[in-house]
């Protein structure tokens, strides 16, 4: 599946800012066998005074920019061409939950793809007994890890209402869960809290969602902005599986990932420090459009 991707983030500041240093995590990942990035272009207006790229611990490409003082507005525009390969209908080769723990013990590396990073509480996802109880109830009867993942994701999808106004970017998962409302970030972080409480390694994924559904399919929730879902370790053989609790689906060709981390903080699209003494307004728009299948490349 070929996509044209376009992201525009705009900021307006009430008063001119001081100097600012920002990290942008918006470039789609290149993942062998799943997703390839054909081109990517990021334009920042006004031109930053410094601009450099690095790869963070979890393998996400980060653009570091320094903005000169005196900004009143700023625009970040990213265009990319991405190919997303379908993983096809997967066989469920994941182990039952009790075996998962044993398989985990065998893993002794702690590099970017190690499941060990995603087992315990992280800065934005604390353990929460209510979510843990919910997850435990949801997996009753699930025979495999993959089934357990789907069970938690689907239960959450039923339990929560998508609501763009109920939560903020810093709302803790426990609170969103209590509200039973939230956006993709809340869905993902609650699901992660639940899975971790069951001993299942779960990471937070930031990325994009196809804007217009294929003919005859419903439009997915959360497609107007950057999206978030969950990446779960389902055993040594099955490896990592992406599940989108906001839409209650395993992620497939509609999902384009930027990167993963322990929680939102590790993959937030824009982080940094800006000296400001006034307010700011921001907007943020995404278009992920399937290109007519004229030229096929892979």
């Amino acid at each position: 599946m070929h996509y044209d991707l376009c992201l525009v983030i705009r900021y307006d500041f009430d008063r001119p800012t001081g100097a600012g240093r920002q990290l942008l995590r918006i470039q789609p990942a290149d993942m062998a066998g799943q997703q390839s990035l054909l081109s990517c272009d990021i334009t920042i207006t006004p031109e930053p005074s410094e601009r450099r790229e690095f790869t963070d611990f979890f393998g996400t490409k980060v653009l570091e920019v320094v903005m000169a003082p005196g900004l009143t507005k700023c625009e970040i525009a990213m265009t990319a061409k991405v190919v997303r390969l379908s993983l096809g209908r997967e066989l469920d080769i994941s182990p039952p939950l009790d075996r998962l723990v044993e398989e985990l013990e065998e893993i002794t590396q702690i590099g970017a793809t190690s499941p060990h990073h995603f087992l315990t509480a992280s800065p934005r996802i604390a353990h929460d007994p209510a979510i843990a109880a919910f997850a435990l109830a949801a997996v009753a009867g699930a025979e495999t890890t993959r089934a357990a993942i789907a069970a938690v994701g689907n239960a959450l999808h039923k339990y929560m209402t998508f609501d763009g106004d109920a939560t903020e970017v810093d709302t803790p998962p426990a609170e969103a869960f209590k509200l039973k409302r939230g956006v993709c970030q809340d869905f993902a972080q609650i699901m992660i809290a639940g899975l971790r409480s069951l001993g299942i390694p779960a990471a937070y994924v930031g990325g994009f969602l196809r804007t217009l559904p294929p003919p005859g399919k419903p439009r997915l929730e959360g497609a107007d902005a950057m999206h978030a879902w969950v990446r779960v370790w389902a055993g040594a053989e099955a490896g990592w599986i992406d599940h989108d609790p906001t839409n209650a689906v395993f992620a497939d060709t509609d999902h384009i990932a930027v990167g993963h981390g322990r929680d939102y903080g590790d993959v937030a699209p824009v982080t940094g420090a800006l000296r400001m003494d006034g307010g700011q307004k921001g907007s943020h728009a995404v278009d992920l459009i399937e290109r007519p299948a004229v030229k096929r490349q892979s």
């Binding site: 240093r21 450099r52 315990t120």
Partner: protein, 888 residues
């Protein structure tokens, strides 16, 4: 040579007894309440902004009054009271018998605790030879002598302002340094045997650090459990894969060690994050040598200065270019060991900076100075790693510098120690170090650490369950000392076998078990007598081009009671000096390198903008305090004379109080105390640049004023108290202006003072020399301007508006006149960096010149009240221009 190399230690530390040296600091409490500080700093900032706004806003405001001539009093308020350098004669060894009898008497009642080794006496109660000189000298002291000597040490600590900060009940307070004046004596040979083990441990930690932030082979090979690393908040992922610029991660370490029942030394904790205490060790040394000066002088005690000199040289040597600097990064005055940061910076002659002083530009760390950005190549941080960069590390940190990690990634900066080194303090790692050492450096540990079991392993859990008697359970990822945070510790023996087992099964990964520590005891002064108290030592290691060096001495912590868990200072423990005693003469060392070439005068380093800002405001606050005191005194004198608060002259003063936000009714109003607090808080931010004597004088005046505020009633009583305060203030001004090196720091302090004085006088005249002012107002103005005598000499006539304006506004010879302040300001401003470029004046210098010209062309008739208020606005703007040009 760069600025750092040029500076000699400001305090003649070790030089005194060797040079009677140094100060000491507390150990372990490195991390509490960091951001609290900033809250306070913000309040201070808000204050300044409020003052500036107020000045600009108050274009028209009413009148006021005169001030008296209290001359800048004799400068030296003898703040540095005469030090008693009294010599205590050492007992001539005349009659050994008598001495033996005395000794026996002195040691009587000194009973080591059961099954606990003691440093001074052996198991049979016999004095160890090492302690003989000390014990016999002590035996020769009367109870009075002891009190006097202790007082001498304490006096020194008070005079130098040594303190630490204690947190509790939601507030933090500065506490006097709790010194135990009896040093811990350790034989040189004992020490020499310990040193290689400490160095070896430092090498093991360096290798472990390199693995944890490099390839992680230890975890991969199954030698470390993954969760100890991945769940560890001290493992800073952004630092993984960034090699240290210098080739080493660790440069300055401390080990907390104690002596076990068999006399063997044990490591109780590794301090790798940003170990504190080395500076306090220096202070302990000076204080203790004051108490036992003759013993110290004759005792063959190894000096500490060489260790610091070599480390300073090592820090400076790691700079990549000679123009760059090394700096010490502090979280700021609210940190519990800030005193030590400022002290060490002064002692080593290295710039002390806070996170906001620094900026990262094109991958290079820079310090903001009044002369622009200057590169920093080496940063000795006294701040926890995760706080160092809000962009890539803890986003909530207000103590760090955006881009710090980026600068490290770019490779131009050496961080002492590398960010992320806090992970080595993880308690559970102690369970693995003995096995890791051979793997990492090919040797077994020479000095053991306390026996530790990580309860995530089933074998370990079994061991703990089978012998719970001496086991203490605590969080596996804790980084504190074993005796801090008692509330986190559970004695395994207090749980039933079943509960213990199920706790370990459920939470094992998060727990370690450690053997309860038995500590040796050492003599401490308890109610005038020596009594055995448990002790731990903090020893310091510094990496130098010649390898690790161990400080010959350290920082001993002495328990408040025989219970070894009460050793923490926060729970009443005290600190003592550690003397490594040689059998022969020791080499005298000094911080000052031997002269190896012709004398070269070095230019002073650039002044960080924040320091300049604090000095500027310190100058303003001190001057403002003085102005207020004069104003209050004038009021209270009148009050005493007229006896009625309603006299018109008092009403005439009211506008001057009002514009300063002061209610003058209490003799010493709270508003005055607030101004003093603001002065102290500004001075507290620049302790490394402010003379300890002046600091002490400032603290003293603050104390006096607060005491007076409680006791003094308005009128005559208050007038006398205020006169006393005025004399003390003159002492501070004298200490600062007679003794401070006339460079950039002094210049900003002076600009602040002149500016404030100009503002005060303009306002005074606008209010009290107004045509409509009450009778007597002109005389009051002369009094407030301290110019009564001059007026009498210069004008034979009575005061008139013209004579008053001429003397207090326009006369350049009167040091209190507006004209005098403006001329002096102009002179200082012209000497600031970039005051003029190619003959073009900076905006500040231009505004300054305009003020001067405007004032110089005035006559008493033209300088009306309206003109004065307008001029006030012009002068107020200068403060903003200074801030804009230099202080951000």
């Amino acid at each position: 040579m760069s600025p750092e190399e040029r500076k000699l230690p400001a305090t003649p530390v070790e030089q005194a007894a060797d040079d009677a040296v140094a100060k000491a600091g507390p150990g372990p409490v490195e991390r509490t309440g960091l951001d609290k500080l900033k809250a306070q700093a913000n309040t201070a900032e808000a204050n300044k902004i409020a003052i500036r706004r107020n000045e600009v806003a108050q274009a028209a405001s009413p009148g006021s009054e005169p001030d008296l001539a209290a001359t800048q009093k004799a400068i030296a308020d003898k703040a540095l009271a005469e030090k008693i350098a009294e010599k205590v004669s050492v007992e001539p060894l005349a009659a050994e018998k008598i001495e033996a009898a005395k000794l026996a008497a002195a040691l009587k009642g000194y009973k080591p605790l059961p099954a606990t080794p003691d440093e001074m006496v052996d198991a049979t109660g016999k004095l160890r030879p090492l302690w003989r000189d000390f014990a016999s000298a002590f035996a020769g002291l009367t109870a009075d002598d002891i009190v006097r000597r202790t007082a001498r040490a304490e006096q020194y600590l008070r005079d130098s302002g040594v303190f630490y900060r204690q947190y509790g009940g939601g507030e933090s307070v500065e506490r006097p340094w709790p010194l135990s004046p009896v040093p811990v004596l350790i034989a040189e040979a004992d020490w020499a045997a310990l040193v290689p083990g400490l160095i070896q441990r430092a090498d093991v930690l360096e290798a472990l650090m390199a693995d944890l932030y490099g390839e992680n082979r230890l975890v991969e090979g199954g030698h470390l459990p993954p969760s100890l690393i991945t769940a560890n908040p001290e493992w800073l992922r952004p630092m993984v894969g960034i090699p240290p610029q210098s080739g080493h991660y660790l440069h300055f370490l401390a080990f907390e060690i104690g002596r076990g029942p068999d006399g063997q030394w044990w490591v109780l904790a590794d301090r790798t994050q940003a170990p504190s205490g080395a500076g306090y060790a220096l202070e302990n040394r000076v204080a203790t040598s004051r108490a036992f000066n003759e013993l110290y002088a004759q005792g063959h005690v190894h000096r500490l200065a060489g260790f610091f000199r070599d480390f300073r040289d090592a820090l400076l040597g790691m700079r990549q270019d000679r123009d760059a600097r090394a700096a010490i990064l502090t979280p700021g005055p609210l940190n519990e060991t800030y005193y030590e940061h400022a002290y060490i910076a002064r002692y080593l002659g290295i710039t002390l900076v806070q996170g906001e002083d620094l900026a990262v530009e094109n991958g290079r760390l820079m310090v903001r100075t009044v002369s622009g950005l200057k590169p920093v190549d080496v940063l000795w941080r006294r701040l926890d790693g995760s706080y160092a960069d809000p962009v890539e590390l803890n986003a909530a940190s207000r103590l760090g510098t955006p881009g710090m990690v980026s600068a490290l990634r770019a490779g131009g900066l050496t961080m002492v120690n590398a960010l992320g080194s806090g992970i080595l303090e993880t308690r559970a790692l102690m369970a693995f170090l003995p096995k890791l050492a051979p793997r990492l450096i090919g040797q077994s540990l020479k000095v053991p650490n306390i026996a530790t079991w990580w309860c995530g392993g089933s074998v370990e859990r079994k061991e703990v369950v089978s012998s719970p008697r001496r086991m203490l359970l605590s969080p596996a990822l804790a980084t504190g000392l074993p005796f801090d945070r008692q509330e986190e510790i559970i004695a395994a023996s207090t749980l039933s076998a079943k509960d213990l087992k199920s706790k370990l099964e459920a939470e094992g990964r998060g727990l370690v078990a450690q053997e309860a520590v038995t500590l040796s005891t050492t003599p401490a002064l308890v109610d005038g007598k020596l009594a055995p108290r448990p002790m731990t030592l903090r020893v310091f290691l510094a990496r130098t081009p010649g390898g690790w060096q161990v400080m010959p001495g350290g920082f001993a912590r002495i328990g408040a009671t025989p219970d070894p868990t009460a050793i923490a200072m926060q729970r009443g423990g005290t600190a003592a000096d550690v003397w490594i005693v040689s059998s022969k003469e020791v080499e005298a060392v000094s911080m000052v390198p031997a002269s190896t070439g012709p004398f070269r005068r070095m230019g002073p380093g650039a002044l960080p903008s924040r320091a300049a800002d604090n000095l500027f405001w310190l100058g303003r606050y001190i001057e403002r305090t003085e102005g207020l005191v004069r104003l209050l005194r004038a009021r209270n004198v009148r009050l005493a004379e007229t006896g009625a608060a309603s006299a018109p002259i008092l009403a005439a003063l009211q506008p001057l109080f009002k514009s300063r936000g002061i209610d003058p009714v209490p003799g010493i109003p709270p508003g005055l105390l607030e101004t003093l607090s603001a002065a102290i808080s500004s001075a507290g931010q620049v302790r490394d640049r402010f003379s300890p004597d002046a600091w002490q004088a400032l603290v003293d005046i603050n104390k006096t004023a607060r005491r007076m505020a409680l006791q003094v009633s308005a009128g005559d009583d208050a007038a006398r108290a205020l006169s006393a305060l005025l004399r003390k203030l003159a002492g501070i001004t004298g200490l600062v202006h007679e003794n401070m090196y006339r460079f950039m720091g002094w210049r900003f302090l002076t600009i602040g003072r002149l500016h404030e004085r100009a503002m005060g006088m303009i306002e005074t005249l606008a209010v009290l020399a107004d045509e409509k002012a009450a009778p007597g107002a002109l005389d009051m103005a002369i009094e407030l301007g301290d110019s009564v005598l001059t007026h009498r000499r210069r004008f034979t006539v009575a005061t008139s508006r013209d004579t008053v304006i001429d003397l207090l506004a326009l006369d350049p010879m009167n040091p209190r006149s507006i004209r005098h302040q403006i001329e002096a300001l102009d002179e200082q401003v012209r000497m600031l960096p970039d005051a003029a470029e190619n003959g073009v004046l900076s905006p500040l210098a231009r505004a300054m010149l305009r003020c001067l010209t405007d004032l110089a062309t005035q006559e008493p008739e033209t300088l009306t009240t309206t003109a004065l208020w307008a001029f006030r606005g012009q002068v107020a703007d200068l403060s903003n221009l200074v801030t804009e040009a230099y202080l951000r």
